[in-house]
């Protein structure tokens, strides 16, 4: 119909650039901070809040703070700033308590080795199985002999002299390692078919989970001596460890039970069909799968245990917090509570935050499901 010559050639108009207020910094601001009157109000309030808190905080903690000197007089020049001199002078005690000066390499070696082995298990290193085995068997024994001494030419350091971060780490690590097997046994007992075994485990778990740790520690400190035959006595550290371990074991049992319940029934039936007995079924088939599922929860239990170790002051141990609390009562350093507690908070925060990140990392790596 129409002639070939005036065929319409389609030339698209070039796309217009997006409106200037939706791209770049302005666009981001409009999209994320000022979309709507309510959000704008919130943003302004938040910025005002930051303005009120952050500059004074930086000023207090860094700009006007005192870092030098060896006693209180060094801080008198800038009373508005933090007196970090206090922390500097007490730092050794915060780490080691009253551990003798010449022997402090021992806790250091213990923790560096432990931390090194632990970190190497998180990353993919060749001998991971052996490292885990070392951490669970040889390491605790070696650590005990190294810290307590009295053998192999090491001078004995009684546990009453341990303190600070050393005690915090010893209590939390021992608590988690010792409560692990007890927790597994309790969890298996709770899922057992035998009524007496099951009720014994349920009663223990629910009793312990229903009371605060502080009362368990009170019990360990005042009732344990009554339970033992006359003349037999426990040192304070062991009392705290017994209390903390029993307490954590109950929580650990619930964590493991969660894992046991998550293993599909077919696995139990398959193992039984292969003719495996109860213990071989559990050890070879069920527990490896169940424990793998709950590793993140175990790390979380460890984090809460680590925070809870601050309660061991009840039995008279000097953990990090107690050392700092006692130091702030020192006549030479009175009135420096803020510095002390802020530093303690920072220390705990670094440990707990790092562990929670590790837990996330493990969770991602172990996630073999095909969920998206």
């Amino acid at each position: 119909m129409s002639t070939d010559t005036d065929a319409y050639v389609f030339t698209p108009t070039p796309p217009q650039p997006p409106p200037a207020n939706t791209v770049g910094v302005v666009g981001w601001l409009r999209g994320n901070l000022f979309n709507g009157w309510f959000n704008s109000l919130l943003t302004i309030a938040a910025i005002y809040l930051l303005y009120l808190t952050i500059p004074p905080l930086i000023n207090w903690a860094f700009l006007s703070a005192t870092f030098s000197g060896t006693d209180r007089t060094a801080c008198e020049a800038s009373p508005d700033g933090a007196c970090w001199t206090f922390i500097k002078v007490r730092f050794n005690q915060i780490l080691f308590g009253f551990y003798p000066d010449g022997e402090q390499w021992r806790p250091i070696v213990t923790f560096v080795v432990g931390l090194g082995a632990l970190v190497s298990t998180v990353f993919r290193t060749p001998a991971r199985r052996w490292t885990v085995l070392f951490l669970l068997t040889l390491y605790p024994v070696a650590a005990f002999f190294l810290l307590a001494g009295g053998y192999f030419g090491l001078t004995e350091v009684e546990t009453a002299k341990w303190g600070g971060l050393t005690v915090t780490l010893v209590v939390s690590v021992t608590g988690i390692v010792a409560s692990f097997p007890i927790g597994i046994v309790l969890a298996l007992g709770r899922r057992s078919n035998m009524p007496i075994v099951r009720s014994a485990c349920v009663v223990f778990i629910e009793l312990v989970r229903g009371v605060p740790l502080i009362s368990v520690l009170f019990m360990a400190s005042v009732m344990l001596p009554l339970f033992l035959p006359e003349g037999m006595n426990f040192n304070k550290l062991l009392r705290a460890l017994v209390g903390v371990t029993l307490f954590t074991a109950a929580y650990m049992a619930e964590v493991v039970r969660g894992g046991l319940q998550a293993v599909p029934k077919g696995q139990y039936e398959g193992a039984a069909a292969l003719g495996l007995g109860y213990w071989r079924m559990m050890i070879l088939i069920i527990l490896p799968q169940a424990l793998k599922l709950v590793i993140p929860s175990i790390v979380n239990s460890f984090i809460s245990l680590f925070k809870d170790t601050t309660l061991v002051y009840i039995v008279g141990l000097f953990d990090v917090l107690e050392i700092i609390r006692v130091s702030t009562k020192d006549a030479n350093w009175i009135g420096l509570e803020k510095e002390g507690y802020v530093f303690a908070a920072l220390m705990f925060w670094v440990f707990c935050f790092a562990m929670s990140r590790v837990s996330l990392r493990i969770e991602k790596r172990l996630d073999t499901s095909h969920r998206k």
Partner: protein, 396 residues
């Protein structure tokens, strides 16, 4: 198959040890014997130890005079009161701090949890910082911080912070005016109760009408109005039957008014802020568990953002949140025992502390303390289970 097994078992009588049923019974008997033996052994040791230390046993001490003071009492208490009364006072203090803690932690937790999901970048970041900071610092440390570094560092009574000459904040606590009742004061609480009853009735009626006709009614505002207006009206009609007693500086300290002791404030701040960081995570995961389709459908129906959250998302998220929320509440109750560390007179401080030191009856005292916490744990979980059953999805 079972029959075959039984037959085989009979055929090989000698191998009773391989019979699972027999083994399970034998194992349980051994366990029971072991538990009984350990129990008996501990009991023996304990009675011996108690005898040699001259410690009495039994709960008779509860009727003896206590002879100490408690800095915060909800019921009248004096040095001449008994240990039993001290126990009640301590129990009420624990209940008080836990109740306040639960309310504040829930409110802050909900706000922070929702803020973490906000599309406002800076608000979401601030909420994240809040959660990650507070939940990674031990509660005891937070209590110490509030108590020793903040509240104990406040000025003394003479230089206290002052608002309207009625509210004072100093080292000794927060002072505010107390109402002094006069004749006819009873009308106000009665009017309040009537107001609550009316509000409840209105909300039920409004809900019924909404279900039948779809017409909405502002029952919340009406209810609130009634609850506030009736007591005010009662007060006006009876000629304001109360006066305010202002706290006044007399000598070295304030007299009159109501005082909130710094121990209470420190524990309450730390407990609510700490638990709120966990509740925020519970709220966040609960809201994330509601599928996005629900939000989109609600938007498509024309519901605004706030209404979507209130009518569609939160009711569904609540179902997911209830079990973890229960355990947070239980944790808060148990954590209130840390008040003992700064001398807040709650159960552990008074009973497991002072009473234990004075009487030396460790077993009874610790058992009493633990029994209380166990009872509370049971009550809270029963209540939350009931609530959970009410809110659970009714599937057809």
């Amino acid at each position: 198959m079972a029959k075959d097994g039984a037959a085989a078992g009979e055929a090989r009588k000698s191998s009773l040890i391989h019979d699972p049923a027999f083994r399970s019974i034998a194992f349980q008997i051994v366990l029971l014997a072991l538990v009984l033996f350990v129990g008996w052994y501990l009991f023996q040791n304990t009675t011996q130890n108690l005898a040699s230390r001259n410690i009495a046993s039994g709960f008779g001490f509860l009727d003896q005079p206590a002879g100490f003071d408690i800095i915060q009492t909800l019921i009248p208490f004096s040095q001449s009161a008994t240990y039993g009364e001290a126990f009640i006072v301590a129990l009420l203090n624990t209940v008080l701090i836990s109740a306040f803690g639960i309310v504040f932690a829930t409110i802050i937790g909900f706000i922070v949890g929702i803020a973490r999901l906000s599309n406002n970048w800076i608000v979401a970041r601030l909420a994240t910082v809040y959660v990650e900071t507070l939940r990674n610092i031990p509660l005891l440390l937070q209590i110490f911080f509030w108590y020793f570094a903040v509240l104990r560092a406040l000025p003394g009574p003479r230089d206290s912070h002052n608002a309207f000459d009625a509210f004072f904040l100093n080292q000794r606590g927060l002072y505010f005016p107390a109402p002094v009742m006069e004749d006819g004061f009873w009308t106000i609480p009665v009017a309040f109760l009537i107001g609550v009853a009316i509000a409840f009735g209105v909300s039920r009626w409004a809900r019924k009408r909404l279900m039948e006709t779809g017409r909405q009614f502002h029952s919340f505002w009406v209810g609130l109005g009634v609850i506030v207006a009736l007591p005010v009206l009662a007060a006006l009609v009876t000629g304001v039957p109360f006066t305010w007693e202002l706290p006044e500086l007399k000598g070295f300290n304030f007299k009159g008014g109501v005082v909130v002791i710094p121990e209470f404030m420190a524990v309450l701040f730390a407990l609510s802020l700490y638990t709120a960081s966990f509740i925020a995570e519970v709220v966040r995961s609960g809201i994330l568990a509601v599928s996005k389709g629900q939000t989109e459908a609600a938007h498509a129906l024309g519901l605004r953002h706030g209404l979507t959250l209130r009518l569609v998302v939160i009711p569904q998220a609540l179902r997911v949140m209830i079990p973890p929320m229960t355990s947070q509440y239980l944790n808060l109750l148990k954590n209130s025992s840390l008040g003992a560390a700064v001398g807040y007179p709650e159960l552990v401080a008074v009973v497991a502390g002072t009473v234990l030191n004075q009487t030396g009856q460790a077993i009874e005292v610790i058992a009493l303390t633990m029994a209380v916490y166990l009872t509370f744990s049971l009550l809270i979980s029963l209540f939350m289970n009931w609530y959970n059953a009410r809110k659970a999805l009714v599937e057809r």
